[in-house]
């Protein structure tokens, strides 16, 4: 059966124009076949003598099926050969392609039971870990009921919380339960600002965007209002911090002679814009130490310490209007010394011009305050919840210092650490301070890329 068109799959023999024993030449029309489109003549592409007509008139066969057989020209053709087992007539229409079977729910040993996407989504909604759920379905497949049971039946009746994707992501990061947050979005949808306001210690709730319906506001009064609101928020935060967090304090004085000389030498032939301040060196030291010593870089959430991978370094910045903010440098561990200096510069300039980016306002994992500029020797900082530690740097000043038993004058800084006793203890806090001090003693280590 020839294919007589791209979408032709079978044909019905309407007429035979030859019979066994007839000689056939190339190109001769030997039969007429009906396709869905029309009756079409079938030509022979070979010459020979017809031995038998396999497919009778009226039968439908698939493209490619044998219609008739030819013997080479001149061959004697006796009576039609013994009844060949007639070719089983193909079913009229090709069978509907069988629907691909449901993926077999084979439960290979060891691998977690297979579960359908719907079940996986349900588990995600109810914060249920599928690995821990016994499946009661065929071959141990996990069913919806199994998930609901595993969630302690809590799920029943708990409505899905409408929220923006960013709000959900921030809630996960801040450990805030969405359904504990009142949404200010359309139809009560929770937005990221709502999550941050609800989180106990967002350092600075972002200036709420004016209500679109509110009449136009004079820019200056808007700014004054914003400052007042910000100071109130920080005040309330500090009060709660002192109330809830059992602070304990450690201090250490560090000789910066080596670091100062190294930094002075590094800055010598650089234009001011590329010079690095000691503050950047301090931030690098804290970042490296925080990454090294766990239990100080993370958040205290719902009665448990949640470590955070990556050091999101908060920096306390005083604004011109006197108020204080502590925006963060995200993933500070990725920055070398020059990049840390640039990040610090960008953070301070943006904070003071009120154009902090969303990322800078997102929540740090540990914060540093550097009041040395104001001539204060030691600082006893207040931790920003939910962080569990805060480092303070005092003034760098020449002090008497014992060197190899001799009295010398050295530039010394006193570093203080406030820590949350629920999350860490004196031993870990001391190891952290030593790590910071050790880094400041060999500054080149804090600046791997550029040669000293």
């Amino acid at each position: 059966m020839p294919s007589l068109g791209a979408d032709m799959t079978s044909g019905t023999v309407v007429e035979w124009l030859v019979k066994p024993g007839d000689e056939v030449r190339r190109g001769q029309i030997v039969a007429v076949v009906d396709t869905d489109k029309a009756a079409i003549e079938v030509e022979a592409y070979e010459e020979g003598v017809v031995t038998d007509l396999v497919v009778p008139v009226g039968a439908t066969v698939a493209v490619g099926a044998v219609l008739a057989r030819l013997a080479p020209l001149g061959a004697e053709v006796t009576a039609p050969p013994a009844a060949e087992p007639a070719l089983p007539a193909e079913p009229a229409l090709p069978a509907e392609p069988a629907l691909p079977a449901e993926p077999a729910l084979a439960h290979s040993d060891g691998a977690p039971a297979v579960s359908s996407p719907l079940v996986r989504r349900r588990a995600h909604q109810l914060h249920v870990d599928l690995d821990t759920v016994p499946g009661t379905g065929p071959d141990g497949a996990i069913q919806r009921a199994d998930v609901t049971a595993a969630s302690g039946g809590l799920a029943l009746g708990r409505p899905r919380v409408r929220s923006s994707p960013l709000a959900r992501r921030r809630a996960r990061e801040l450990g805030v339960l969405l359904d504990s947050v009142t949404g200010t979005g359309p139809r009560g949808a929770v937005r990221v600002a709502d999550v941050e306001r609800a989180s106990p210690r967002a350092p600075q709730a972002p200036m709420p965007i004016a209500d679109p319906a509110k009449p136009q506001q004079h820019a200056a009064t808007a700014r004054a209002e914003a400052t007042a609101r910000r100071q109130a928020a920080v005040g309330e935060l500090m009060a709660r911090s002192k109330r809830d967090i059992p602070h304990f304090y450690l201090g250490a004085d560090v000789d910066l002679a080596v670091a100062s000389a190294w930094l002075h030498n590094r800055n010598r032939d650089r234009p001011p814009a590329q010079r690095v301040l000691p503050a950047a060196l301090f931030l690098r030291a804290v970042t490296v130490a925080a990454a090294e010593v766990g239990h100080l870089n993370g958040h205290w959430v719902e009665g448990g310490f949640q470590p955070i991978d990556g050091v999101h370094l908060g920096v306390a910045v005083s604004l011109r209007d006197g108020s204080l903010v502590a925006p963060g440098i995200r993933d500070a561990q990725r920055l070398d010394l020059d990049e840390m200096m640039e990040a610090l510069r960008d953070l301070v300039v943006r904070a003071r011009s009120g154009r902090l980016t969303r990322e800078q306002m997102s929540d740090p994992s540990i914060t540093v305050t550097n009041l040395g500029d104001l001539g204060v020797d030691t600082v006893l900082p207040v931790i920003y919840p939910p962080q569990v530690a805060m480092v303070g740097f005092g003034r760098v000043a020449d002090r008497p210092w014992a060197v190899d038993g001799m009295l010398a004058v050295r530039p010394v800084v006193s570093i203080s650490l406030a820590a949350d006793h629920r999350a860490s203890d004196g031993h870990r806090a001391a190891r952290f301070l030593q790590a910071v001090a050790r880094r400041l003693q060999c500054p080149a280590e804090l600046d791997p890329r550029s040669a000293p």
Binding site: H264, R268, P272, A273, L277, R320, N370
Partner: protein, 84 residues
């Protein structure tokens, strides 16, 4: 710049730079010989931006050794005009 810049010109440059950093401070009310940092309530980062401003406007490299000489208003003006 040809001859040494006049003091008034140098003062204008220094004032312009400080205006960006501490906009709300009136330079006439501060002690010109006293240290700028405490009087203007600016930290070491602001001071570095002040030094940067001097370099940008005058081309002077202002190495760290010279920070002391530009720590006060008079010092800065002298530094800017004297060196021209």
């Amino acid at each position: 710049m040809t001859a040494t810049m006049s003091d008034t010109e140098a003062r204008a440059i220094v004032a312009g730079i400080l205006a960006d950093i501490a906009p709300e401070v009136d330079l006439d009310e501060i002690d010109p010989a006293g240290e700028l940092q405490p009087q203007l309530d600016i930290d070491s980062l602001d001071f570095l931006r002040f030094v940067e401003g001097i370099t940008k406007h005058t081309g002077l490299p202002v190495p760290e050794e010279d920070y002391r000489r530009v720590a006060s208003l008079d010092g800065a003006v002298a530094y800017v005009s004297g060196h021209r």
